[in-house]
Symmetry: C2
Subunit: 482 residues, 2 copies
């Protein structure tokens, strides 16, 4: 079996044995088994040497007693029992193992000894394993999942590797809330056998995956990571939170995934040289992923701002400047075009402040066409129509044609939003929306269309500008941005 | 009439005339009238010299034709007609005027001339006015509101003054979403007559208001602002977004509220010397307000972190350090107490990583009691119980007593949350929650109790630490923090 085949069978096993299956709600062996039981396409086996049945399944005293072949074993037994469970897995000739159990190298010398035993056993048997001290993995295309406490998943172009289970959960939950879909995820834990670098190499070969996200505390093979990244980032962006960047954080990382024991220090400069986008926190990671998936790469850092309110225009100008981006003067042709669309009250400059109370598409086209502008940032959002109409329903319910009006506005929004997509493609230029004003209703066809295209509005101009500054730098790295 | 009585009658008028009332949906004169019509406790008059009726009300050609007395006139007519409308208001002896109409000093010379006329007329008549180029005001205690496109308001301890209408909307909407309640709001617009400083003085005297928030582009009376602030911040915190801090932002501000024309430059240092908390964006403003309202002022910057996951603990340590806060070593007594509560796998240091998957209160009490700790930051939240139980309902619906279990957990959460409040009071120490993991369900008694007490979880440790660093500095200014 090649390395890729080995990992394939872990992300898409035909049969799975849970070693440590439990009847006690809340235990890992209960929760994961409950999740696996929902998977009717696979053979699921419960292994427990003290029970006859677990959650209605026959329980086998050992994986060796399981009648059929087992592709993947998931181990949740107490850490001191993991080495012998691993022995059994090898004798059973499983193709891969996920060790959920914690209490190993991250807790000190005793645990480190046990972890070393597991590694030795697995190496002898030639079996790759995930973890220990992890939450497992999922693949939305093979419909396989061992990761508990996640909301319903959505398929999509994001691959994720996280050295922390709970950081992984936060990334996935935030991502789902922002309309991202995931392809493969692995919680890599202590990385006693398979390393971040192995998963990175594997995800890079997956055609479903367009962006690779990572949460890193420490890299075991820093040089290999950089070599891989240098190749991958030419085609697929890699965005990582590298935690433990401060002294306090590094100290906390040491007691968490035992990350620094034997790990390489990869500097910010090295990340940059390999084209890796490094961010500081989870919200930033999601924000950058959305831009990378929803937008063409920017050709430069000159931002044209269109705002439906003056105060937001001022704050946006501030945040654009603070993030090292520029607000170019608009071309005379753009000024002319806007003069013909707007009343003479408009700001006559960049930001374009239309001073109205609803987003106006006719001000958007000239900005997309303007050669002085590399990126269009819109403060205002097509998806606000519903709350706009909702306000009237509340305060002017006696208006008879409100529903009709709302539908008309929404169908116009749909047409125009499709034109935004078309114009983005034609001019190969990002158009980024930010919400404001009367709030965003996350419902309806307009919002769905935005979500499908990773165009949902950023909650603040600050977050859009922060993400954009990362993407402009990446685009410069690729030689696309000037 | 004293200055206070004049403003009182604007925030709580017995009778209101809308000059520029309109039958056209979407116009200011329509939208505001629709809002006012919902107010059955006041006499509302429509003024329009071309219609006999507006929205079912008899329309008067001029405010002079209104039969009864008028406390407040709201003007929405085109800007060139505002001076004569103001003349009429003076003859009618109204107590105050709100000029919504824009197109004045912010658009250039012509508008500036009209604005000067309005100021002259109003000064002659001794009438204070709000605006022009604004969205008006509300008072949730008098139930008066002219501000359109807001979701239903909630009463509470926040007073807000915004020089931008749309920034004000964003602040109010974000605040409401975070559980804040508002008392008085004024959109101050171009401040041709009443200045930010006037409203500040007025809100400072309002006993319902515990925190004053502001959005500032430029101050007309910088010295007066600082003198007022120096007195007010001894009792009530003032938190402001001062926009236009960059060159690009300042330029945008010039074409917005004409802020720099005749305004004073107040430096960051001057804000600090007056105890004013200055933030950069709206989310930060809300975050700081929540801390000020929900928490005792911290006695120092030593943060004890309790985390239900290791990765989040590392990122929290990073962000706490980046914001100039400290992670002190825990006292030996705390380590002992935690040893008796946690399995030997815990991190044995600060952050306290309990490595479990649900928030555990028994780890919280020792941190609150620890003399080394000034602030407790909890990564995890009592309000997560619902989504925890929800996950089981989805993946293990055959468990028979899930509902019961959920109710039991929630009632325990309620008891413990009340103990958190009690401990916070007893030790006079902030306890700040951050969400993570399986997400927060914004429902149920637990979330309500958190919301009522301004204890709802911050969405990221980053945002909690950023807000905390501001509050620690303010606490230092007051001599409370070391």
């Amino acid at each position: 079996m090649t390395f890729k085949e080995q990992l394939d069978s872990m992300f898409n096993p035909r049969s799975v044995a849970l070693i440590g299956a439990s009847n006690t709600l809340g235990k890992w062996g209960f929760n994961i088994l409950a999740l696996l039981l929902g998977d009717k396409s696979r053979d699921i086996y419960a292994v427990n040497n003290r029970e006859a049945e677990v959650l209605g399944l026959k329980a086998y005293p050992s994986i060796l007693d399981v009648p059929g072949p087992v592709d993947l074993a998931v181990i949740t037994v107490p850490f001191k029992d993991v080495p012998s469970a691993m022995e059994d897995c090898i004798r059973k000739q499983v193709k891969g193992v996920v060790v959920i159990s914690g209490g190993l190298a991250e807790t000190g010398e005793e645990g480190a000894k046990v972890q070393a035993q597991i590694v030795e056993v697995a190496k002898r048997g030639g079996i790759p394993f995930v973890g220990p001290n992890c939450m497992g993995l999922f693949d939305t295309y093979s419909n396989f999942n061992t990761v508990i406490f996640l909301p319903p998943l959505r398929r999509g172009p994001v691959g994720l590797i996280s050295q922390s289970g709970n950081s992984g959960q936060s990334i996935i939950i935030s991502g789902l809330e922002s309309g991202l879909g995931f392809s493969k995820y692995v919680s890599s834990g202590n990385e006693a056998a398979l390393h971040f670098e192995d998963y990175l190499e594997y995800l890079a070969q997956d055609d479903e995956i367009k962006v690779i996200l990572g949460y890193i505390e420490g890299l075991r093979e820093g040089r290999r990571f950089l070599e891989l990244a240098r190749e991958i980032t030419k085609k697929k962006p890699i965005v990582v939170v590298k935690a433990g960047g401060t002294q306090a954080g590094a100290k906390a990382a040491r007691s968490h995934t035992a990350a620094l024991a034997g790990s390489d220090i990869v500097s910010d400069a090295a990340f940059k040289q390999a084209g890796v986008i490094r961010v500081e926190e989870i919200g930033e990671l999601i924000d950058v992923a959305l831009l990378l998936l929803g937008q063409p790469l920017p050709k430069g850092k000159r931002v044209g701002v269109l705002s439906i309110g003056g105060g937001m225009a001022v704050m946006t100008a501030d945040t654009v400047a603070r993030h090292g981006l520029e607000l170019p003067p608009l071309s005379p042709a753009t000024i002319d075009k806007l003069n013909s669309v707007l009343s003479r009250r408009w700001s006559h400059g960049n930001p374009v402040d239309i001073g109205g109370d609803r987003f106006n598409y006719d001000c958007l086209w000239p900005l997309i066409e303007d050669e002085n502008v590399d990126v269009v940032l819109v403060i205002g959002s097509p998806a606000a129509t519903r709350s706009f109409v909702g306000w009237f329903s509340l305060h002017a319910p006696w208006v008879t044609n409100l529903d009709e009006m709302g539908k008309l506005m929404e169908s116009k929004d749909l047409v125009e939003l499709n034109r935004v997509k078309e114009m983005m493609g034609r001019y190969d230029k990002p158009v980024i929306f930010c919400s404001m004003g009367i709030g965003i209703v996350k419902q309806g066809e307009v919002y769905s269309l935005m979500e499908q295209n990773h165009l949902i509005p950023y909650p603040t101009p600050e977050r859009a500008a922060r993400a954009l500054s990362h993407v402009v730098r990446y685009s410069g790295y690729l030689g696309i941005s000037r």
